[in-house]
Symmetry: C2
Subunit: 305 residues, 2 copies
């Protein structure tokens, strides 16, 4: 079952012809979660063959334009394209006023319900939960109210052993009971203990999106053992002082967080427009954490069970 | 001297991968005027090799998102890129509040002066004037407060005949006096009447941007004899009823306006996303007004003297 992260934009501050500002899609079992929505996101969604209407939940890290200036366009396009199902937006409270002011200015009454969920960027808490995943906020250390997001699958149910199933014809309710942990009793009264006929479920997969932030070990307990971590790396070591002053991170700092949190894999992104040769940045990160990749628009990474 | 119109986007409503929503640059003698600023405009400016900081005046036709959702991104990028010179925005008054709310949300204090000029879309009046051009508002017939824009060069000064100049050494003040209409008197006292030594100036060039609007002959006196007219053609004749209901125009209606206004050339644009084969739309327009071209992103048209 799918759990993939697709980068729609990974540049800092300013849209470039080859690199859009922050936006990415997390696809968990064909449900699409959008993390940030910079200018150009809806076209990036189209270019990467995502159906706009499949997005139900949008999470905005903070109200710097390079993380949300594409949101009104997306909200409007979903309306013009005939959406009827609800859209949920999770963001700092001020965004709600901004959305309403735009809609008011264009006298737009949306055809679909838009639910705004104000989040407290200083808290680590579950902000969305459905049958498949939960999403939690991660406080970021930025010069502005900002949070990252942690999306985690729910623990699955045990799998029934194939060798047990051979030659038996269980009905749907039998499957349900076994997956809920009950023993199986056949028509002759023979008891099969649950532990003997099931295999443990696949471990739940998880992804964390951490931007914009200075180096902050405070997030490590929250993202410990994450399968995949996106951590901003606005600068290289040559501009470590800039990173500190502007509450951003270097590639090495991002890699340190990944190593200390025992992440499975690291994606670095949110690159300053000044960097053209990205290989050097990657080298810096890999010195600290080998399993690092560079974000680029269009990159998609699967997390396997 | 340059007078060119460059299309950055010419689609209606929704950004597509091959066609951006409304934005265009008018370059008059290397001064750039931006007409509308849909999402993606700043990247389109880059792709078409315009220097963002050369834009001093931005005109927004109305507050439907496909005409202004790229404005906040552009305003912010100009700031981040170090702009110091003033930027002027001409639009319906509500846009000022929207801009201020965005700046407030991101705690941005712009490094450059941003001057907002509220325009009355129901009036045809000069809304901007400098040494080179004047820009006037043109009331549009839309379901929303909307105006088009007419940009016109000022009448130039007479040119001094080359055959007169031969063998003479005039100083700068002589040139100035002749161009202001005075006769020339040489050192021997010989009088050269102004009419004999000058040629009339090139006729001032003009361009009108008319979107979004239903067919409206009321604009004809305003745009009469325009060199180049951009007129929206959201629909073809097959959807004339839609055009009327939605206060848009068909290609034939755009062409009728061009013909009745004695325009030099017509660009049709603001195409509905439903139309893929644009040649048929062009044919419809050319039945009425032969000198019609289809807008497309990246198209640039020069107006020659």
């Amino acid at each position: 079952m799918t759990f993939s992260v697709s980068i729609l934009g990974c540049g800092a501050a300013i849209p470039l012809t080859h690199r859009n500002p922050s936006a990415q899609v997390v696809n968990v079992k064909e449900q699409l979660y959008l993390f940030d929505c910079a200018e150009g996101t809806q076209v990036q969604l189209r270019k990467n063959h995502f159906r706009l209407q499949k997005i139900e939940n949008i999470f905005i890290s903070h109200l710097h334009g390079d993380h949300y200036f594409g949101l009104m366009g997306l909200i409007t396009s979903l309306h013009l394209l005939g959406r009827e199902s609800a859209l949920h937006i999770y963001a700092y409270h001020q965004l709600e006023q901004i959305i309403q002011m735009h809609l008011h200015a264009s006298k737009t009454v949306l055809r679909y319900p838009l639910h705004f969920h104000a989040i407290d960027p200083d808290r680590n808490e579950v902000i969305m939960e459905n049958k498949t995943v939960s999403v939690s906020s991660i406080p970021m250390k930025h010069n502005f109210p900002t949070c990252g997001f942690l999306i985690r699958e729910h623990q699955g149910k045990p799998n029934i052993r194939k060798d047990f199933l051979e030659g038996k014809s269980l009905d749907v309710s039998d499957y349900g009971r076994i997956k809920r942990g009950e023993d199986y009793i056949d028509s002759a009264g023979k008891v099969y203990p649950n532990a003997d006929i099931t295999l443990p479920p696949a471990p739940p997969r998880s992804y964390a999106y951490c931007t914009d932030t200075a180096y902050d070990e405070g997030i490590i307990p929250i993202i410990e053992n994450i399968d995949l971590l996106y951590h901003e790396a606005t600068f290289m070591e040559d501009r470590k002082a800039d990173a500190e002053a502007k509450f951003h991170s270097t590639a090495m700092q991002a890699a340190s967080i990944a190593r200390k949190a025992h992440a499975g894999q690291l994606i670095i992104g949110h690159f300053s427009a000044r960097y053209k040769e990205m290989d050097k940045m990657l080298d810096e990160a890999r010195e600290i954490f080998a399993n690092t990749v560079l974000a680029e628009d269009g990159l998609s990474i699967d997390i396997h069970n």
